[in-house]
């Protein structure tokens, strides 16, 4: 078990390295001179070839790519001083550089935005399961009945609406049209500052994510539960004279959870990497929107940092899925 985790972490580490290399190379060999975005920004769009050369030289783009890559990686581990166009700034470890847009250390901004993203992601993901799974199970147990058909078609309709439209309508009605007290002021307030405001500000984004995402979980849980309930061991459990509740939940649900856990892990990872629409619509300063804007602004250090963050999150989530999987199913031994 321990060896397995170590092995997976080592493998994950190499994936992260690979991702960092590709991103680094992408900018280096990109369609535009890599120094131009910063040069443009700092010279108010008057980046002459001479100035560009100053930036290119000072940002190291005239050096071989591998030595600059090593400098970048060393910065992450140990920190470094960054000198651009004659201005030197100290960038403590883990150093991902300074955001072109704000001139702040990227790591600092990431740290600031992480709690909001985590709050949105975990709340939304929890609702996926809390709403989706029980409804799916209820539908599975009433398979073929009118209730089942009604549930299935409702969720089918709901999931065919584009998410941004759904979230926008939700926001529009709750905050503008109905002006529901307490919910109208969305946004992120740190949990440590004011728990009530934290919850109130996030409730709407959670609901938007949760309701929409749970449609998928309903369908999934239904299918997986129907499959589990048709297994031979369910018939055995009933033949033992166990109460229906025990049969369905103890014997059926545990088996049905295995595939649900798998997509849940991936979904959670996706949410943590960023919920662009949710953050945009409900005005939350999270990682997703930040990454999107950075791409638009060609804010290379931020793009690099968010991409690496995404890779790490996905690797960890996948590992967690496998660990939960092995805890659920003793046949999957982690060794």
């Amino acid at each position: 078990m321990f060896a397995y985790v170590v092995k997976r972490l080592i493998a994950g580490f190499f994936v992260v390295i690979l991702v960092s290399m590709s991103i680094f190379a992408l900018f280096w060999y990109g369609p535009q001179e890599p120094a131009r975005p910063l040069c443009n920004l700092e010279t108010s769009q008057r980046c002459t070839p001479e100035r560009l050369e100053v930036y290119t030289e000072s940002m190291g783009y005239n050096n071989p790519i591998h030595s600059e890559y090593l400098k970048f990686m060393k910065g992450i581990v140990a920190g470094r001083d960054i000198t651009i166009a004659g201005r030197t700034q100290e960038c403590p470890a883990p150093c991902f550089g300074f955001s072109y847009a704000t001139d702040r250390p990227v790591w600092g901004e990431l740290k600031d935005r992480l709690p909001a993203t985590i709050s949105v992601a975990f709340g939304g993901a929890a609702l996926y399961v809390i709403l989706g799974v029980p409804i799916g199970i209820a539908a599975a147990r009433r398979r073929g009945t009118l209730t089942d058909k009604a549930l299935v078609s409702t969720f089918l309709v709901l999931s065919s609406v584009p998410y941004y439209l759904f979230a926008l309508m939700l926001w529009l009605y709750v905050t503008i049209v109905w002006q529901v007290p307490g919910l109208s002021d969305t946004g992120y307030v740190p949990l440590s500052e004011n728990p009530a405001k934290w919850a109130a500000g996030l409730l709407l984004p959670w609901l938007a994510l949760g309701i929409f995402g749970s449609t998928q979980y309903t369908r999934f849980a239904r299918g997986s539960m129907i499959e589990a309930l048709s297994e031979d061991y369910i018939r055995t459990a009933r033949a033992k004279g166990l109460p229906t509740r025990t049969v369905v939940y103890r014997h059926g649900l545990r088996a049905a959870m295995v595939p649900i856990v798998t997509i849940f892990g991936i979904d959670l990872g996706t949410l943590l990497v960023g919920t662009i629409f949710t953050e945009r619509i409900f005005d939350i300063q999270g990682i997703g929107l930040w990454a999107l804007l950075a791409v638009g602004d060609k804010d290379l250090p931020v793009v690099q940092a968010t991409a690496l963050f995404g890779a790490v999150v996905m690797i960890v989530c996948n590992l967690l899925v496998d660990l939960v999987y092995s805890a659920l199913d003793p046949r999957v031994r982690l060794s």
Partner: protein, 419 residues
Amino acid sequence: MSDDKTPEVSDPILEAQRPQAETFAEAVAHGHTATRLDTSKRPVLEVDNLRMWFPVKASGLVRRTVGHVQAVDGISFQVPEGGALGLVGESGCGKSTTGRLITRLYKPTGGAINFEGRDIAQLSNRSLKPLRRNVQMIFQDPYTSLNPRHTVGAIVGAPLAVHNIVPKNQIKDRVKELLEVVGLNPEHYNRYPNEFSGGQRQRIGIARALTLNPKVLVADEPVSALDVSIQAQVVNLLQDLQREFNIAFLFIAHDLAVVRHFCPEVAVMYLGKIVEIADRETLYSRPHHPYTQALLSAVPDVKQAAIGGRRERIRLEGDVPSPINPPSGCRFRTRCHLAQEICAKVEPPLLQIGPRHKVACHFPAPLGQAPATPSTAGLLGVDDRGNPQPGAGPAADLGEGPGFNDRWFDVERRSMVGA
């Protein structure tokens, strides 16, 4: 075969093209007696000391090989042209692995597979391709071995296309011909496997195997997934095809009665080794290996029980040991009621003890007549407890190779005799 599966639905238009039996006399004519042994036929397939060891990897950070599953460990036999050799044994004995080795789905760890005199054991996939058509396989499960997204025509015709045997425009005709041969309606080449019943699917699998006119068919449990009334149809079909096309069969099954009917010669495997091989009459009525005796006594016997008699069973206790770490000496000794000291020390050779009978046991004898001392000791140059005898070595030729010799070891007189 329990009936909570979807019942097989008979569709009159799907019924066999061959005239179905209407009267009992016709049904009898469709039925065959057991296949006879023809010793004059030369072997088309000869397997010599074949081994397949699958590596077992360690868990942990470094996956090094820590042992081997000795799935098949030095087996030898011959299959005569147009004949049939049965391979029986229980799960994990290596019989299916043997089938896969002969069709070269696996590359053997060692030994030779001589097909018409050419060793195909170590050939590369490329040099194997022209030979593959000669050795084909019929699988156990007609539900999973046919691709549900391909029509019957595509399934049966695929080997023709792959091997460029007939021009593309003639494939359809050949497929129709084959479907008719196996008793299906040739007009159904456009249908999908799920439109057929289990027995009909097995016929499709057989048609596919016949497509390339193979000289050898490896049939791995060809009837065990079918309903009882359908099993006989398929066994009879295989007998028909064998006669019509002179195909040699390696017939792998756990059902001793079906093997007895189909195969004039039978080999019994246990933990990767052949423990006894003989012609049908000898193996079923005078088996000399305690495992063969136990296997046969375990088969429920309709006729015996019907007339009130019940044979005494030899109870085998426990389970088959792990093929990763098989017992020393004789692999069956841990469950054998005859086992003595010698069995743990010396592995019994597969010794020829009759004109067409070989057995791997230190105490070979018909049931209940086992000798008190090992018959093989003198031959192997050891004393009765398995310790090496000074000055004596094992006899040169114990006849362990494929095929049978003219001289063999008489277990009662404990000396070599000739025909």
